[in-house]
């Protein structure tokens, strides 16, 4: 870690920024998230109806797929991810809160909270602690020794992206070695493996039933049209979320940390690690909404429970604070960030 940074000052400035921003949070933010939810519902049901109208004109089907995919992206990113982080808990809304919300993907919300909210956000990019770094499948830095399977890890990556919701869903089971491998001794598990299995199959099963059986059946003779439409919508959502998330953590200048480095970390050092472990993507308002504001990955990692409706506003201030402390602020247009990700995956597929 860079020893020339005044970590205490850094912590104070960032804490103060968060505090300031939180005092402004209120009616507008509540209205914002409800608005996004209304759009999500409209796109979802509009999409499902259009899929069935594919019989009139194939264009209906195409618009239907895109509409359903957008709904699923909104549900996953701007609503699900952020609500599950507790960003909207202050509203006291019985349905829009991290304690009881669940989302429209195969992964049980509670499992994701344990792995993502806890492990990933606490131990961001700490090798051996943050399983999101490479998802246990990819070698993305020299911290891991090279193995033959890394040779074709670009294909593994493509598969992971396409099946991303299942990867996310299986993530905790893999970490706990529920089906395969030996359990790690130092990993304190808080939940019974059989309970994990039950939730995995129950949530996943419901998703499969809904998209690939119930709605296609409701369409009667259009069974296959609707089934394919749902499949493609899920695929688009998977590719999109995986791509955005990879751009947030695996661009070329993202750092990794060793466990020793992070022992007895101060708040300032924690902020510093979040800053170097993430990178942003430039884009317009709508783009940010569809990424669930993970295009502000840096801000999200500094303040994971700040409402997403505020990330655009705090970003310039964060950048200014970083500049004063001489901390790099990694951001760039989508294509540049993505090409860095691809390069990284390819680079580390070789020893």
């Amino acid at each position: 870690m860079n020893k020339n940074i005044n970590f205490d000052l850094l912590a104070n400035e960032l804490d103060e920024l968060k505090r300031q921003t939180l005092t402004e949070v209120g009616t507008a933010d509540a209205a914002y998230i409800r608005n996004v939810i209304v759009w999500q519902r409209a796109l979802e049901w509009g999409g499902r109806v259009l899929l069935m109208l594919g019989v009139i004109h194939p264009l209906c089907w195409i618009v239907g797929v895109l509409s359903l995919a957008s709904a699923k992206i909104l549900d996953n990113m701007e609503i699900g991810h952020n609500v599950l982080h507790g960003q909207y808990d202050w509203m006291n809304d019985p349905h829009i809160n991290s304690r009881q919300f669940d989302w429209d993907i195969a992964c049980d919300g509670k499992s994701w909270q344990r792995i993502h909210n806890y492990e990933h956000h606490t131990y961001t990019n700490v090798i051996g602690k943050d399983r999101d770094f490479g998802y246990g499948l990819l070698r993305l830095s020299n911290d891991f020794s090279w193995r033959v399977k890394n040779l074709w890890q670009f294909l593994t990556y493509l598969n992971l992206s396409m099946l991303f919701q299942w990867g996310v869903s299986y993530h905790e089971l893999a970490a706990e070695r529920v089906f395969m491998g030996k359990k790690k001794q130092d990993r304190p598990s808080k939940i019974d493996p059989s309970e994990l299995k039950r939730r995995f199959f129950s949530k996943g099963g419901k998703q499969l039933f809904k998209d690939y059986l119930l709605f296609p059946l409701l369409a009667g003779p259009l069974f296959l049209w609707v089934l394919c439409g749902n499949l493609i919508a899920n695929l688009i959502r998977n590719l999109w979320t995986s791509t955005i998330i990879f751009c947030g953590h695996f661009t070329s200048d993202v750092h990794t940390f060793s466990q020793a480095e992070c022992e007895n970390e101060t708040q300032g050092q924690w902020y510093y690690r979040q800053a170097l472990g993430s990178s942003n993507i430039l884009g317009g308002k709508l783009f940010h909404i569809f990424t669930g504001h993970l295009s502000f990955q840096i801000e999200h990692h500094l303040f994971p429970d700040l409402p997403s409706s505020r990330y655009q506003q705090v970003a310039p201030k964060v950048q200014a604070i970083f500049a004063r402390h001489g901390i790099a602020y990694h951001t760039g247009p989508f294509l540049r960030q993505y090409s860095q990700v691809v390069k990284r995956i390819l680079r580390y597929s070789l020893p």
């Binding site: 505090r19 507790g86 808990d89 202050w90 509203m91 809160n97 344990r114 909210n117 806890y118 606490t122």
Partner: protein, 367 residues
């Protein structure tokens, strides 16, 4: 659980990944009816009136579905204030069948609300509701009511202080509406500061209507005291007390002195939040865990998570630094301090993170 609820749940879980169909459609319903909530009844604000600079009377007309209250019960009123849904309990100060000349043909519930200048809820209430808008109500709650098994010979004593008069207004109005006057002698002992008695005209009118009612409007500063006011109270009397916690204790002491039996007392009292800890630096916590209740005392200089663990209670946790929200639990009532920001919470129900919260007042928690 009946079949319909079960069906609703299964459908909602499978298709909408929510706990009920209503909660999935709630954000859309709110577009059409802004105050629509799945877990609440709705009530329209008919109007409000300042009874005093710091007391508002709110006249509401509840949904047809709202179960009628028994005189003396309270409701939880939910209003969205600056994006937050805030809920507070208030006694209903009108009788169920009372007619209100200002709103003919309406079923009216009157709430009498003491406002506090710096109160997060009451101070902002009027700015957030207008006549014609909607608020949310819970079903009527509470056991503070005159039992219909009371003998006609049993004297009734209603002892109120300050805004503690509200449930008695409901009870007295209810009695005035009965086809037959109650035979019980009714004594209303009502303490307030000089010039701060509420509903004086209404009480005088009630005294005209109810032969058995005797109203005492008392002011402590003027030398009135509980002992004199209750001097005619006998061991046979049924005593109902409503007011601040301290007032209730004073009344209890008086009644103990005459050996008045505990089972003939009913009380509803409000505790102003004590911002200070007990002398030993501890705070009382009432904890509900899977329906089981436990009472605890925790050191206030510790986080709630550490405190609970030291008492052998395992709460869910992850990062212990306020990042992951794994330690979240429901605070039913009480005030906590956020150890990271120093921020003091509100009093009502909300989600809190155990690992960065300290108790400021006694708390009710649900894990």
């Amino acid at each position: 659980m009946n079949l319909l609820t079960r069906l609703n749940q299964v459908t909602a879980k499978t298709l909408f990944h929510t706990d009920s169909i209503g909660s999935y459609f709630e954000p859309i319903m709110q577009r059409i009816k802004p105050a629509w909530r799945t877990h609440c009844f709705r009530a329209q604000v008919l109007g409000h009136q300042l009874l005093r600079a710091d007391v508002v009377q709110l006249d509401l007309s509840a949904d047809k579905a709202w179960p009628q209250a028994i005189a003396g019960q309270h409701v939880l009123l939910t209003v969205e204030i600056n994006g937050r849904l805030m809920t507070r309990p208030f006694s209903i100060s009108s009788a169920p069948d009372q007619s209100h000349s200002r709103y003919p043909k309406k079923r009216v519930i009157r709430l009498t609300i003491k406002t506090h200048v710096d109160g997060a809820f009451t101070a902002k209430l009027l700015a957030n509701i207008t006549a014609g808008s909607y608020v949310n109500l819970s079903a009527p709650q509470g056991e503070f009511a005159v039992s219909d098994r009371i003998q006609p010979s049993t004297p009734l004593w209603f002892v109120a202080a300050g805004s503690g008069i509200t449930p008695f207004m409901a009870m007295l109005n209810q009695m005035a509406l009965l086809p037959q006057q109650p035979q019980n002698p009714i004594n209303l002992v009502y303490f307030a500061k000089l010039g701060e008695h509420l509903y004086v005209d209404e009480l005088m009118a009630l005294q005209q209507q109810l032969n058995q009612l005797k109203v005492q409007l008392l002011i402590r500063k003027n030398g009135d005291n509980l002992a004199d006011a209750l001097s005619d109270c006998t061991v046979q009397s049924q005593v109902l007390v409503c007011g601040p916690g301290q007032f209730k204790q004073d009344v209890d002491r008086q009644l103990d002195a005459i050996n008045h039996p505990l089972k003939q007392r009913q009380a509803e009292y409000f505790q102003a939040p004590v911002m200070s800890q007990t002398h030993s630096g501890e705070q009382h916590i009432q904890l509900t865990q899977r329906g089981k209740q436990t009472q605890l005392t925790l050191a206030t200089n510790n986080s709630l998570l550490n405190g609970l663990e030291q008492q052998g209670i395992s709460a869910n946790f992850g990062c212990r630094i306020g990042v992951c929200h794994q330690c979240q639990c429901i605070k039913k009532s009480g005030v906590v301090r956020n150890m990271r920001t120093g921020e003091i919470s509100q009093q009502g129900e909300q989600l809190i993170q155990l690992c960065i919260s300290q108790a400021v007042t006694p708390l009710e928690l649900e894990l």
